[in-house]
């Protein structure tokens, strides 16, 4: 009893996180019960849908890849205490530029996707760096400019891919470019699913960001800058440079994610709207509690729910947008400082009394 209680107070943030997730899920279940003709079927599809076939579970891992990139991107950028939402634009631009490289630069097998991903990462970095630089140089709100930049990048690259470059395939039944050449696409690595070599790039990105944030001088400076900018400045840290670097790196991760997604999952470039991964990154980052190593876990959780809700919406009368309700409830409760605070205090007091 003692031990359990002291574990709970020590790991209070974990308890809160679990409670927030539970509230989100329970609320969704209540809504489903209210609106569905067959709530039991819908709820069971939501939670067990991803486990029903190898293909479905494969979908979870496939979706986990872009969500991990998005979560890492936001984790790095928010670590500098910058609300840079440019990951969304970085994703789209990264995917688009990767497709441009894939379609226009004939390269041998291994170098082709590498060049495309690098170019995609670079444009993503530039996107997020722009918002960061405007903030550092002139104090322009990075939140607003990055949101505006998302639309600019989206329309710009949509125009280039489907109109300006002449790469649109007129014989394709939907709006898309010509087929990406076989040398550029990322190969499948697990049979019976669409899981592709991008998973390896994802693991690499997690490792790199983990080392950058937790085991380098730059990561330490980033942490200090994010926690208390004034203090960091007085300790002699070049705060501006630290912020710029983190926004650029975050953007590169976002752009890389877009590139990997396009080269791994599609035959052609076919994004006719913003893919939304940038915003998903916020919830992944919040669930991972600023720790890059937890990002894939959080991404897996969100991907699992998403695929579950797809399974639910394809076979029952509940639509998959219910996921957005769960997501926002989780963000709201996790960021609420007072949520469960009274409970924590009671526990701390009890513990102190028992120790006397």
């Amino acid at each position: 009893m003692h031990k359990a209680r002291s574990w709970l107070t020590k790991n209070f943030t974990v308890v809160r996180l679990a409670a927030a997730v539970l509230i989100g899920v329970l609320f969704a279940m209540a809504v489903i019960t209210l609106i569905s003709d067959d709530p039991a079927a819908a709820i069971s599809k939501l939670f067990t849908g991803p486990l029903q076939s190898k293909r479905r579970f494969g979908n979870v891992i496939e979706l986990m890849i872009p969500l991990t990139f998005a979560g890492l991107s936001i984790t790095v950028m928010f670590a500098a205490n910058q609300f840079n939402m440019g990951a969304e634009g970085a994703f789209y631009a990264g995917g688009a530029v990767a497709a441009l490289v894939a379609l226009n630069m004939p390269l041998p097998a291994f170098a082709h996707p590498a060049a495309a991903i690098l170019a995609g990462g670079l444009i993503g970095g530039v996107t997020c760096l722009t918002a960061g630089a405007l903030k550092v140089k002139w104090g322009t709100s990075e939140l607003v400019t990055s949101l505006m930049l998302n639309y600019v990048m989206y329309y710009l690259f949509k125009y280039i891919l489907f109109t300006g470059s002449g790469l649109k395939d007129p014989d394709c039944g939907y709006v898309a470019t010509y087929k990406l050449p076989g040398t550029a696409v990322l190969p499948r690595i697990i049979q019976g699913t669409r899981i592709h070599a991008g998973l390896i790039v994802t693991a690499l990105a997690v490792a790199l960001i983990y080392v950058y944030m937790k085991h380098t001088k730059w990561g330490y400076e980033l942490k200090l800058t994010g926690e208390n900018q004034k203090f960091a400045r007085y300790s002699g840290i070049g705060v501006g440079g630290v912020i710029l670097a983190s926004q650029f790196i975050g953007g590169v991760i976002g752009g890389t994610g877009g590139a990997v997604q396009v080269l791994g999952m599609y035959e052609r470039f076919q994004w006719v709207s913003l893919p939304g991964y940038g915003f998903d990154g916020v919830i992944v980052a919040i669930l991972a509690r600023k720790n890059p190593l937890f990002v894939p876990v959080a991404a897996f959780f969100l991907a699992y729910l998403r695929i579950g809700s797809d399974a639910m919406s394809s076979s029952t009368d509940v639509t998959n947008e219910i996921i957005s309700i769960i997501q926002s409830i989780i963000i709201l409760f996790v960021s609420a400082k007072v949520f469960l605070e009274a409970y924590r205090q009671r526990m701390v007091v009890k513990e102190a009394v028992e120790h006397e």
């Binding site: 609106i35 329309y155 916020v282 709201l332 609420a336």
Partner: protein, 313 residues
């Protein structure tokens, strides 16, 4: 192209600027009031989406314009209240809460629309009631002014009227004074006995009310019904307009008019066979340029002030 150019210099064009400015202006005023009380209402986008949906569904299902209007306001205020509960009561980061609500706005409105009318795209299956266009009796007869100012949607007139009401509220009432003092220095306000949280609640709700009017206009005036993601960043543009207008209602109105003009130009150019994507980029690019120009200006002013105080001492 020439036709487009000649249209841009016509009175009809100015008329259309006022029309497309309307939703941005409502949300800008909403942002001004909230920011003045030190509460950053980032959820403008979600509030507009939900109120637009509320208006479309309410009026479409009952056939009553006013029930639609009330449901629009209620939906927008509900989202604002959620923001208030989490940001003010549960001490959540108000920016993160706003981001969460905006996520809810995009998916949640589609979820509700699908649940109620089994359509994910728009509400065209039900007949949304629309606010009437008013031609102003005497004004209507005056050549130039009549072309520009008469025949607008009732809510467009309300939007510009609100500029002065909000100005009056902020600068001519006790509540306005309290809102401004809470925003300027929370602790000082508290120390003279102002109930800070109550003032912030009021400011947020007023902000949500104003923004909901913009949402109601989107589905019951600007368009005839709700469409998936129909607000498309106007809430964010309003954030930019409010800060460019230095959180003053009149300044905010001028900034909103600039973005409205960019929006109206893009509507005209779309008709002139300029690529769709390039045209649609215009309001967003204009917002970024405007914001940056404004920040540079503020920086310079600050630096000059600092130099002056240095020279004096």
């Amino acid at each position: 192209m020439n036709e487009a150019m000649s249209y841009i210099f016509s009175f009809g064009f100015i008329h259309s600027i006022l029309r497309v400015t309307t939703p941005i202006l409502f949300a800008t005023l909403g942002s001004v009031v909230a920011e003045r009380a030190g509460t950053a209402n980032i959820a403008l986008e979600a509030i507009m989406l939900f109120s637009a949906l509320g208006g479309a569904l309410g009026s479409g299902l009952t056939g009553s314009l006013w029930i639609g209007f009330l449901l629009a306001l209620a939906s927008g205020l509900l989202i604002t209240a959620i923001l208030g509960v989490f940001a003010l009561r549960l001490k959540a980061d108000i920016i993160l809460s706003g981001i969460a609500l905006n996520l809810l706005g995009t998916g949640g409105t589609v979820f509700i629309m699908y649940t109620i009318i089994q359509d994910k795209g728009n509400t065209s299956s039900i007949a949304t009631q629309v606010f009437p266009n008013w031609s102003i009796p005497v004004l209507d007869g005056i050549p130039v002014l009549g072309d520009i100012l008469s025949g607008h949607n009732a809510l467009t007139y309300l939007a510009f009227l609100m500029v002065f009401l909000v100005w009056g509220l902020l600068f001519k009432t006790r509540l306005g004074l309290r809102i401004r003092s809470v925003g300027e220095n929370l602790h000082a306000a508290e120390s003279v006995g102002i109930h800070v949280q109550r003032i912030q609640w009021l400011a947020l709700l007023i902000s949500g009310f104003l923004t909901s009017l913009g949402g109601a206009f989107m589905s019951m005036g600007y368009m005839n019904g709700f469409g998936q993601n129909m607000v498309s960043g106007r809430g964010f543009i309003a954030l930019a307009a409010a800060s460019m207008g230095q959180l003053h209602p009149v300044g905010g109105m001028l900034a909103a008019l600039i973005f409205g003009t960019a929006d109206a130009v893009s509507n005209v150019l779309a008709a002139a066979r300029i690529p769709d994507e390039i045209v649609k980029m215009i309001p967003y690019v204009a917002t970024i340029i405007g914001l940056v120009a404004f920040s540079i200006l503020t920086r310079h002013k600050e630096q000059r002030r600092r130099q002056v105080t240095k020279a004096e001492s």
